[in-house]
């Protein structure tokens, strides 16, 4: 059912200002399982996702999708979404228009997407005056409207309170149920467990470990991941 997956990273590395941020790595992401990228600050989580999404050009190596021209089949939700100074609905319509969706379908698809994230009642409100949680849900609606095969999320709930976080997680689950491949970085181990099927643990720009979620948390195989899980869960 997937056209653009699997995604293969071949000898991918990234350096900026003489500093290696991602050391050369190989990685294959298949359709299906939700992938959570964990790691300390500065481990390279955001950079890795931007490389996969195509926002950054790799220093070496390649990002290879199964088919060409995948730009419109993948979407990304950032830690802090950027909304245009127009209504919530118009922001979704803008994304549809940019993706080349015919004008006749844009309004309907945008409404459906807003309904999916529970923002229909705010459709005509200015996007920039919405709360942080609402803006993040709007960012998810913008992605939902495009029906992407892959959705990248870069710490999507880092700035949100628990209530808003729950709402965001529910929408991410809905993407998963609808068949979208989830690739998400997070700082919350609880969130990783709630949403992830597998963990990729980054340490100083390298993949220290890749494991199914039910294996990773009880017994991380790498010493770095063990220390991370222990440090994050001092009570465990």
């Amino acid at each position: 059912m997937s056209d653009i997956l699997p995604l293969r990273l071949e000898g991918l590395s990234y350096a900026a200002g003489g500093r290696t941020i991602i050391a050369p790595l190989d990685l294959t992401l298949a359709a299906g399982d939700s992938t959570v990228i964990l790691g300390a600050n500065g481990a390279g989580k955001s950079v890795l996702m931007r490389l996969m999404h195509g926002l950054l050009a790799p220093t070496t190596g390649r990002v290879v999708w199964r088919t060409d021209g995948p730009r419109r089949r993948q979407a990304m939700v950032f830690q802090r979404p950027v909304m245009l100074r127009r209504s919530a609905l118009a922001n979704v319509v803008y994304a549809l228009d940019a993706a080349g969706v015919p004008a006749g379908q844009q309004a309907r698809l945008a409404r459906e997407a807003l309904a999916e994230v529970g923002l229909v009642h705010l459709a005509h409100r200015a996007a920039r005056v919405l709360s942080g949680g609402e803006q993040q849900r709007l960012a998810l609606a913008r992605a939902w409207a495009l029906h992407p095969e892959v959705l990248f999320l870069d710490e999507p709930t880092a700035n949100l309170d628990p209530g808003a976080t729950r709402e965001i997680e529910a929408v991410i689950k809905a993407f998963d149920v609808a068949g979208t491949k989830i690739v998400m970085s997070t700082h919350s181990l609880g969130q990783a467990r709630r949403l992830g099927d597998e963990v990729i643990f980054l340490h100083q720009g390298r993949i220290a470990e890749r494991a199914p979620i039910e294996k990773f948390f009880p017994q991380p195989a790498s010493p770095e991941a063990a220390a991370f899980v222990k440090g994050e869960l001092p009570w465990a």
Binding site: L84, R85, R86, Y94, A95, A98, V129
Partner: protein, 231 residues
């Protein structure tokens, strides 16, 4: 002094025909110059903000420096261009309102372009990643950003208009301050003050300040309303 202020106010209150013509010409010249400079300066500023080309930093430094161009030097420069022996002398524009528009356009173009460059660059830093993620870049991205910060750009345009309507040196040189033809508020104030006709000078001064105030108040209200509506 008090008497002069009172007669100045009286002159404004009765809207003397002569005064009205001077005000109208001033507005026509400065608004045209600001409009022309915006037409050229906003895209120019946006292009410098978004573009990546060698010598970009030098261009920005020069552009910022040009914000402080002395009006008399601009006037002299345009005078040389338009004078009989100059490269554009054929057009016969010297000492006409179009010459004044050209001079003021040259004067305020760097102001509008430099302020637009700053505003667009700040916004672009915020928007770029999101827009590229949506598959938007190049011209479409620039247009999106310009439209999104249109109320901030209003400030740049107003700064240009304020500068244009307040300067005296450039219009004096290329316009010649000819009564009924190229006499504007600032040149009249300079002339009448040196002649000792303080009431007219003061009347015009008051009108000038009121116009500048009204323009800025209007722009401020528009920005406030937009802020409330769009965030």
């Amino acid at each position: 002094m008090q008497e002069a202020i009172l007669s100045g106010l009286a002159l404004v209150a009765t809207i003397d025909q002569r005064l009205w013509e001077i005000v109208a010409l001033s507005l026509a010249v400065s608004l045209s110059a600001a409009a022309l400079a915006s037409l050229l300066g906003l895209p120019l500023g946006a292009a410098i903000a978004v573009g990546r080309f060698p010598g970009r930093q030098a261009v920005i430094v020069v552009l910022n420096a040009l914000m402080g161009l002395p009006p008399v030097v601009v006037g002299l420069f345009v005078y040389l261009l338009l004078s009989r022996a100059g490269p554009l002398g054929e057009l016969g524009l010297l000492f006409t309102p179009p010459a004044m528009v050209i001079a003021q356009t040259v004067l305020v173009l760097p102001i509008i372009a430099a302020l637009a460059r700053q505003a667009v660059e700040d916004a672009w830093r915020e928007y770029e990643e999101q827009l590229r993620s949506l598959g938007v870049d190049g011209l479409r991205g620039a247009v999106t950003v310009l439209w999104d910060i249109r109320y901030s750009l209003l400030t740049a345009v107003l700064a240009g208009l304020g500068r244009a309507s307040a300067e005296v040196g450039a219009v004096m040189i290329v316009g010649g301050n000819i009564d009924g033809v190229t006499r504007v508020m600032t040149t009249t104030i300079a002339l009448e003050t040196s002649k000792g006709d303080l009431p007219l000078a003061l009347g015009l001064g008051i009108v000038l300040i009121v116009i500048v105030l009204a323009l800025n108040a209007g722009a401020h209200l528009i920005k406030e309303a937009a802020q409330r509506r769009h965030g």
